[in-house]
């Protein structure tokens, strides 16, 4: 079995992790929301006003972020809970954070050698769009553009 060190040193830019990230997200949406995610070639960078972040610490350090609109997040919460929720409710933020948490955990478990060497933080959810995040990551983030029920979402992984 490969160690986390082997896994991390194999590729500098980790582009080969994008398919794993995509599979991780698609599984979460299919199993927990009963929804199919579509890959998007391009998405408009504006319109994302909710973000959920989960930190990774240990042999892999970084932040996994899921961004979408609050309208989209409310729809996700509806699909998870089977009940309508207000788009600014705590329940929507909770559901969106949990989606991010499951994507991060599922991704970590798919990268050989990382399962034991990396811990996840509890999720943080930010609403609003007028903010900036400065990460100490040493390389550009891996980005995955997706569509949930024709609404855009972005998953990024910044590796420190």
């Amino acid at each position: 079995m490969k160690s986390a060190k082997d896994v991390l040193s194999r590729s500098k830019d980790h582009e080969d992790w994008i398919p794993l990230l995509e599979l991780s997200a698609k599984e979460v949406f299919e199993l927990m929301l009963g929804s199919k995610l579509d890959t998007a070639s391009e998405i408009a960078p504006n319109g994302f006003d909710i973000a959920a972040m989960v930190g990774l610490a240990g042999q892999l350090c970084g932040i996994l972020t899921v961004r979408a609109s609050r309208e989209s997040a409310a729809r996700m919460a509806f699909k998870m809970l089977g009940a309508e929720t207000e788009k600014d409710s705590q329940e929507v933020a909770d559901a969106f954070g949990e989606i991010c948490n499951m994507v991060a955990g599922n991704f970590k478990n798919k990268v050989s050698g990382l399962g034991d060497g990396c811990m996840l933080s509890v999720p943080t959810v930010i609403t609003g769009s007028d903010y900036s995040v400065r990460s100490l990551a040493g390389s550009p983030p891996l980005e995955l553009r997706l569509q949930f029920e024709s609404l855009p979402m972005l998953i990024s992984l910044e590796i420190g």
């Binding site: 199993l31 998870m80 089977g82 949990e98 478990n109 399962g115």
Partner: protein
């Protein structure tokens, strides 16, 4: 599976609702569902209430699920209650740690109601 009192421990209230729904879909007749947002809160709940089944996340603030399972037998109403972990932590090490600490089952998130059924029903039937 009739008349089951369950304690669901997860820092996400949404996930607690999903776990409850999955238990009902698995055919578990829940007469009472108690909730806690972390292990310490759950130990407090067990000082007051008896339950037949505990479903517990691992990554939680204040007290995580592994520490909760370790402390469970020392608490009023905690002895012998089966615990099934439901968590994003899917490594073999976590599974071994949870089972060594006393958990009787382990479900990885994301999960389907069928997976909940597969892991919980044998535990309730005393087969696991």
């Amino acid at each position: 599976m009739n008349d089951i009192r369950a304690l669901i421990i997860d820092d996400s209230s949404v996930m607690r609702k999903i776990v409850e729904r999955s238990l009902r879909q698995a055919g578990v007749n829940l007469t009472q569902v108690l909730e806690a947002g972390n292990g310490a809160e759950a130990l407090g709940v067990l000082q007051e209430s008896k339950v037949d089944l505990i479903l517990c996340d691992i990554n939680m603030p204040v007290m995580d699920g592994l520490e909760f399972v370790k402390q469970l037998s020392g608490v009023e109403n905690g002895k012998g209650v089966p615990v099934v972990m439901i968590t994003t932590e899917g490594s073999e090490t976590h599974v071994v740690q949870a089972l060594s600490a006393g958990a009787r089952g382990y479900i990885r998130k994301p999960f389907t109601p069928d997976q909940v059924k597969e892991h919980v029903i044998p535990v309730l039937a005393g087969k696991s």
